[in-house]
Symmetry: C2
Subunit: 339 residues, 2 copies
């Protein structure tokens, strides 16, 4: 599946910015893919895109209406259905990150059938996968892993793609979550795949490359130390068979997200990722640490980055605050000398 662009971003009438997190994530990274935003009366979110109606968006060439907001419960309210049907009738495809499938709504399903529109439910994998094989594939792969969920794994992978491409390296971001799929126009929300096929889906997401020097930058999920999601994390680690990984960390968090478990150390994550990852790639190694320092002052952030670098002997940065150059420098230099 490949979601056609430009996108017309639908925000509905959500009460705050948080409910439009998916739309904001897409606009952050792919502003040039986005033609404008459609907001209903009362909408309190704003991506900064030009406001327009669906008819205006269609006239200006929008190809896909992206439902980039969630309402309470993750369902599609009736008055949003109106907009979706209007977009389909105007010739657009529709992509959604909602828990419910677009086609489960009869009016949307009928409109899509009638007008030949494609419906992309990015939280639902439609393709069938093989089980993972663990066979080494050509090309290089870098996976972002985390001490916890929501610590910057997607951001780091996309920033690395940009940083590598900026210096002429062949690099492709590989999405494994819903926002990432909309940002890359393809990929799979791995948490929605049936358990038997996690590593198989991860193999599909980062396929063999003709170019032995090409980097797949694979978006990590969860944490090997998160009691809710470690199975997804391990299947992704085995399937993506990374040569290199970057540990992402948020230094002010005291418990794992959504549960009461303590955070592992960065060292714990490095050691366990290598211990488990070498099953499908014996050459796996840690190539950097990405710290989300948003909650720290500039001085504290710089001090933490420097201290962590000294402790681990690895390039350390906050990709948002300081960019990813230290990690890209290291990767570029290191893999010049590796087979």
């Amino acid at each position: 599946m490949e979601i056609e662009r430009p996108y017309l971003m639908f925000l509905g009438d959500v009460p705050d910015m948080l409910a439009a997190k998916t739309a904001i994530g897409v606009v952050d990274w792919r502003r040039d893919w986005c033609l404008g935003q459609v907001r209903l009366a009362g909408c309190k979110a704003d991506t900064g895109l030009a406001d327009m109606t669906i008819a205006e968006g269609a006239r200006q060439g929008a190809k896909t209406l992206v439902v980039g907001a969630v309402n309470a419960g993750g369902v599609l309210p009736d008055h949003w259905v109106e907009s979706v049907v209007e977009a389909i009738e105007a010739g657009l495809d529709v992509a959604s990150g909602l828990h419910m499938r677009l086609g489960d709504n009869p009016r949307i399903r009928e409109a899509a059938t009638k007008h030949g529109a494609k419906l992309f439910d990015v939280r639902h994998a439609t393709q069938r996968f093989d089980t993972g094989k663990g066979t080494k594939r050509n090309g290089r792969r870098l996976l972002t892993v985390g001490t916890d969920c929501s610590v910057g794994k997607k951001y780091t992978a996309i920033a690395l793609e940009q940083g590598m491409q900026a210096r002429g390296m062949a690099a492709t971001f590989r999405a494994t979550g819903q926002t990432g799929v909309l940002i890359s126009g393809r990929g799979v929300a791995l948490d929605a795949v049936v358990a038997d096929f996690i590593s198989g889906a991860a193999e599909w997401i980062s396929p063999e490359s003709d170019d032995a020097q090409h980097w797949d930058l694979v978006e990590g999920q969860g944490s090997l130390f998160h009691p809710s999601f470690a199975g997804v994390t391990l299947g992704l680690l085995h399937g993506s068979q990374p040569d290199a990984f970057v540990v992402c960390h948020e230094p002010t968090r005291t418990t794992m997200r959504g549960v009461r478990h303590a955070l592992p150390t960065i060292r714990d994550v490095i050691d366990m990722t290598i211990a488990l990852g070498r099953l499908t790639n014996p050459a796996i190694r840690c190539v950097g640490i990405a710290i989300n320092t948003k909650a720290l002052t500039e001085d504290a952030a710089r001090a933490l980055v420097q201290a962590t670098g000294e402790e681990y002997g690895l390039p350390v940065t906050d990709p948002v605050r300081f960019g990813v150059d230290p990690i890209v420098d290291h990767v570029e230099a290191l893999y010049k000398t590796l087979p």
Copy 2:
């Protein structure tokens, strides 16, 4: 979901015993739950149950027709649909381990609706699960883990249930695969659960017990060292939060099932299971080793069991050949002294 008994075992017209593996597994362990078998002309499998027609089974009180055989491709051939519909019309529920859902066949769906029959697709989880929480639950849990897939994890867990119950210990087998679900009348085929909910489903499968001394014997899946399925294995390990585990091993295998990877040692499995399992149960420990010695002579089997016991300082047995008493003895003695 609880599948009503007695079962009437449907074998169709499969060409060999292997295609009736599920039926044979159920009859091995739950012969007294099975009223008889229904075989179509040309059937080459035989569970040893009394042959009868669906009408005879219904008259004698069968509650559920169990489709205990698979045909090539895992689909339900038209002439099997006849039998399923006949069973529904005779008042039975139907349970199936096929990949396709019974209700995806319009004739079966309509008959079930009309007659109020329940359809159990044991390869498909119908209930919704929460994500795993990793919170310690009351009661004791033992998980069977493996150096590989298909090394006796289900057999060992059921044999331990029997062995414990025989000496008056409170013990319940907890199924995580399709045959296990039919053997226990409940449970979830974990490999069919959506990835985000693996550990949550495992928590649901072995719920909190009022009795602190009650043992859940949880059927393991896959192996932490299998590149296709380790994610399922880890989610199950975290969700079942075992106090104790038994390593199951097949000594003649040279590569992991279905892939080219070498087998881990029993020591590798013990160490990694403890390293990962302590996230949700810091007291996790290995309490025994179950070796499938089917391919060995009696003398070679005894020698291997003894040598492995000396190497690991743990009770070692072949549950089929020598029974599970050595492991139950050890568990009973050990946990008398533990809080």
